[in-house]
């Protein structure tokens, strides 16, 4: 259940930016969650419902954008989508490829007024 602490951080960052923009209300929050981030989107949504209540995001909607995992082959530079951080390169067969995308846990944007 580390989603609860993660959502706390999301709301902390959101409130800080809202304050900087002199906004008094957050209408929506968009987060990007990588498929290899180890985060459960259901748990994150649940945490948002619980934690946003007492904040200026109380009325806000939460949009979750899933980020597919991508690996890059250090041998032949081939980039490909994957469901494993240790995927074999489909082009040259190299075993050790590098995960270049898919670990994101990111507050992407929000709508404020």
């Amino acid at each position: 259940m580390h989603e609860l602490s993660l959502m706390e951080s999301v709301l902390e960052i959101a409130s800080r930016h809202a304050e900087e923009q002199a906004a008094t209300r957050i209408h929506s929050i968009t987060i990007r969650i990588g498929d290899m981030s180890g985060v459960s989107i259901d748990a994150l949504t649940f945490a948002f419902d619980v934690l946003a209540r007492e904040t200026i995001a109380a009325e806000a909607s939460l949009n979750v954008v899933r980020v597919p995992a991508r690996c890059k082959c250090p041998e032949c530079d081939h980039e490909f989508e994957t469901d494993s951080p240790f995927a074999t390169c489909p082009r040259c067969g190299t075993l050790r490829t590098e995960l270049v995308q898919g670990r994101e846990i990111e507050l992407a944007s929000m709508e404020v007024s």
Partner: protein
């Protein structure tokens, strides 16, 4: 004043940035002590504390050791490790299922006069949440006990992906519980090809030299 229209602001900020920043500061502190920081992760009951008890007894004559030990509640683990020549700092996380960098930063303050050469950070028993949190460690050790099922790495691949070393514990009872060693090694290798593995029994001392050798190697490489 008329209500202004909602406007979009782009933020693109990683939620773990704050943790990462504190983790970097922790790592700098450990480096300033010339200290190897070891994040130890496993399920509850896999034998983290038993492994550390033995390790402290065996190594504290040669090295200044410290343990930062995380548990939801109680200081039972700290008591178990006391009086072995190492500095022990207990962290109670309350309801939080993992250690984060800020908790380690606070705990590390207690080690300031001590400047340990190796600091073990015994994470909260949990194979899921600790994976996401950099504590400022140099290396991550994941423990798997012979009673847990050989396929555990396949069930919790993410934590094994991040391991610098896998320690198979409780080898003294491997036969009694019908542990299939090859199946476990295959499972570990399937989720993280080539990750080093040591097999130990903290009770009998078997395999402990390989564990100590690995620590020494990491200390030298640092």
């Amino acid at each position: 004043m008329p209500q202004s229209n909602p406007r979009t602001i782009v933020i693109r900020e990683s939620v773990l940035d704050k943790n990462r920043t504190i983790a970097r500061a922790n790592r700098a502190q450990f480096d300033a002590w010339n200290c190897l920081a070891v994040n130890m992760i496993s399920s509850p009951g896999a034998g983290k504390t038993a492994l550390l008890e033995r390790t402290l007894s065996d190594l504290s004559g040669d090295l200044r050791l410290a343990v930062i030990v995380g548990d939801l509640a109680t200081d039972n683990d700290a008591k178990r490790m006391n009086d072995r020549g190492a500095e022990i700092v207990q962290v109670n996380t309350g309801d939080i299922c993992h250690l984060d960098a800020a908790m380690v930063a606070r705990a590390a303050e207690a080690l300031v006069g001590r400047a340990p050469e190796v600091c073990f950070i015994e994470n909260v028993g949990n194979m899921v949440c600790p994976a996401a949190f950099d504590l400022g460690e140099h290396v991550r050790v994941v423990l798997l006990s012979v009673t847990e099922g050989e396929d555990k790495p396949l069930k919790y691949p993410r934590i094994f992906h991040t391991a610098d070393l896998v320690v198979v514990t409780k080898m003294d009872i491997a036969d009694a519980v019908g542990f299939d060693r090859q199946a476990a090694l295959d499972a570990i290798n399937r989720v993280f090809p080539g990750v080093p593995v040591v097999e130990v029994s903290a009770r009998t001392g078997a395999g402990m030299d390989a564990w100590y050798g690995w620590i020494e190697e990491k200390r030298t490489l640092k």
